[in-house]
């Protein structure tokens, strides 16, 4: 099959779907033109992610990656969440097809964007090098950046 059982499980029964009202941080990455947008909402207590929700417009692996990634950071300190890599998400899903790896990258980046948003809203100093820079992003070859 195209996807592992784990992917199909997270795709058909995604965890943490939805919206957090008054979130402490929100991150959105992707682009409808490319066919995938991911939005992550965080609730943060004492530098720990006490709740997380997501909304995703995208393919099966984008939805499964959102679900798995949110599971992986829920209840974790921000420092740990920042270390979550797309590879770890893909591995936790028992792998993704090569041409679908970029979907797990979206999940990693959406989480980072949400944390960055939290730091910025609260005036917390952070190391910009830890966060992706959309200009340099090239995971999605089909994305016509000039057309954004």
């Amino acid at each position: 099959m195209l996807y592992s059982k784990k992917v199909m499980d997270h795709f058909t029964h995604p965890r943490n779907v939805g919206v957090i009202e008054n979130p402490d941080g929100v991150g959105e990455v992707g682009n409808a033109k490319c066919g995938d947008i991911m939005r992550i909402y965080l609730k943060i207590d004492h530098d720990t992610i006490s709740d997380v929700k997501f909304e995703t417009f995208g393919c099966g692996s984008a939805i499964a990656s959102s679900s798995m990634a949110t599971e992986m950071i829920k209840g974790k300190p921000l420092s740990e969440a920042l270390e979550l890599t797309n590879k770890a998400v893909a591995e936790a899903l028992d792998g993704l097809p090569a041409h679908k790896m970029h979907c797990s990258v979206l999940a990693e980046e959406a989480i980072k964007a949400a944390i960055q948003n939290y730091y910025e809203k609260n005036g917390i100093a952070y190391d910009a090098g830890q966060f992706p820079d959309c200009e340099s992003c090239s995971h999605c070859a089909s994305c016509d950046k000039s057309g954004n």
Partner: protein, 385 residues
């Protein structure tokens, strides 16, 4: 419930087609090039199959060349017409923006070889007009290639009129009729078609076999060089079983074309009406001038692949864009050609019916699809009802 609604991708082989193949797999295994009886019987079978295909297209058997499928037929047709054009110093080709990749990629290759290609606009309804073709014809035009019916949105082109325009101007006219053969009445002579591509697995025949019709007097260029099979125009030991299966399937479906068409169109219309009741949905392609079995709708706010996977969970086989382009991240070039914006093109669903689909199945589709669309929209950050 299981509903196979992807007959534009491929079809289930008919019993008759399978039964036409079996004897040539089991006992009549001779090579048609061989002199002894076993070989000559295979050669005779080929002749009969060629006659069957020719009869159903309204041409002569000598005008039919067997190929390995629709892609090969398209490639060889374009290559041949280009070679003729080159010899005459005519290097302009007219086509459309929404041809199958077997045509489009070949056109790209020809552009690299110095050909200039005009891609006609197919409008929002997915139909080119004979007037557009006529206006685009130049003294150096060597080929017009316009598909008979589009594989994604099912729109039927005015092929007979385009053929008449091409004949008047002395330009070769090829049509990729892979989606049309067996589903629409075609007569190459009446419609002034010079070359036509078909593929058996789109009308309940076997995979890996097709044919290229080329009007007498149009020399074909070999795509595959080697032995003298197919009058030297297509090398390789002939796939006799598959050719027999193709001929049987073509005969069978042609005999029931009208009846099938009536039945399938009715189901199609029910399906279209039912799905368009979903808010923010839009039909792709002309409502009337479309293949009897084709339904193609965009649902705003959702993405095609996740839609297909959830439908698969419910036993429904469907597609989003052409099967060939899945695995690619780009939205369908066909939907872009009819002017759908990227974000909407990503949310397309193609259902393609055949004569064995039932009213119960349509009911099932109309119960399940709206639910799945609604569910996916509930996950979507771009959707606010």
């Amino acid at each position: 419930m299981k509903v196979y609604a992807d007959n534009a991708a491929t079809t289930k082989m008919s019993r008759k087609s399978i039964e036409a193949m079996l004897p040539y797999m089991e006992k009549e295994y001779g090579n048609p090039s061989s002199l002894y009886r076993l070989g000559q019987q295979a050669a005779e079978a080929l002749d009969e199959a060629r006659e069957t295909i020719a009869r159903n297209l309204g041409c002569t058997p000598a005008e039919i060349t067997f190929t390995s499928g629709g892609s090969e037929s398209d490639n060889q047709a374009l290559l041949s017409a280009a070679a003729i054009g080159e010899r005459k110093g005519r290097k302009h080709i007219i086509s459309t923006a929404f041809e199958h990749h077997a045509v489009l990629h070949m056109l790209k290759k020809l552009e690299k070889r110095g050909f200039e290609v005009t891609y006609l606009d197919v409008h929002e309804n997915g139909i080119v007009s004979p007037g557009q073709v006529e206006a685009a014809i130049r003294p150096d035009t060597c080929l017009v290639t316009v598909m008979y019916a589009n594989n994604e949105i099912g729109t039927i082109q005015p092929v007979g009129q385009i053929g008449a325009v091409c004949r008047t101007h002395g330009v070769i006219f090829h049509t990729d009729a892979v989606q049309a053969v067996g589903h629409l009445p075609i007569n190459v002579q009446e419609e002034n078609i010079d070359m036509l591509s078909l593929s058996a697995h789109k009308f309940h025949g076997p995979k890996g076999i097709g044919a290229l019709y080329a009007k007498k007097g149009i020399p074909l260029t070999s795509l595959i060089e080697g032995g003298a099979q197919e009058r030297g125009k297509r090398a390789g030991t002939e796939n006799v079983p598959a050719i027999m299966g193709m001929a049987a399937a073509f005969d069978e479906i042609s005999a029931r074309m009208e009846e099938n068409s009536r039945k399938i169109s009715r189901l199609r219309d029910q399906l279209i009406d039912g799905l368009l009741a979903i808010p923010h949905s839009v039909l792709n392609g002309d409502r009337d001038r479309r293949l009897p079995g084709n339904v193609n709708i965009c649902f705003e706010g959702i993405e095609g692949e996740s839609l297909l996977l959830l439908l698969d969970e419910k036993g429904i086989s469907a597609s989003s864009g052409s099967a060939c382009t899945s695995g690619s991240l780009d939205p369908s070039h066909v939907l872009l050609a009819i002017g759908r914006p990227h974000e909407i093109a990503h949310g397309s669903l193609r259902l393609s019916l055949c004569e064995t689909n039932t009213e119960e199945e349509i009911k099932y589709l109309l119960r399940e699809i709206p639910e799945v669309v609604e569910y996916l929209r509930s996950l979507s950050p771009v959707w606010r009802d």
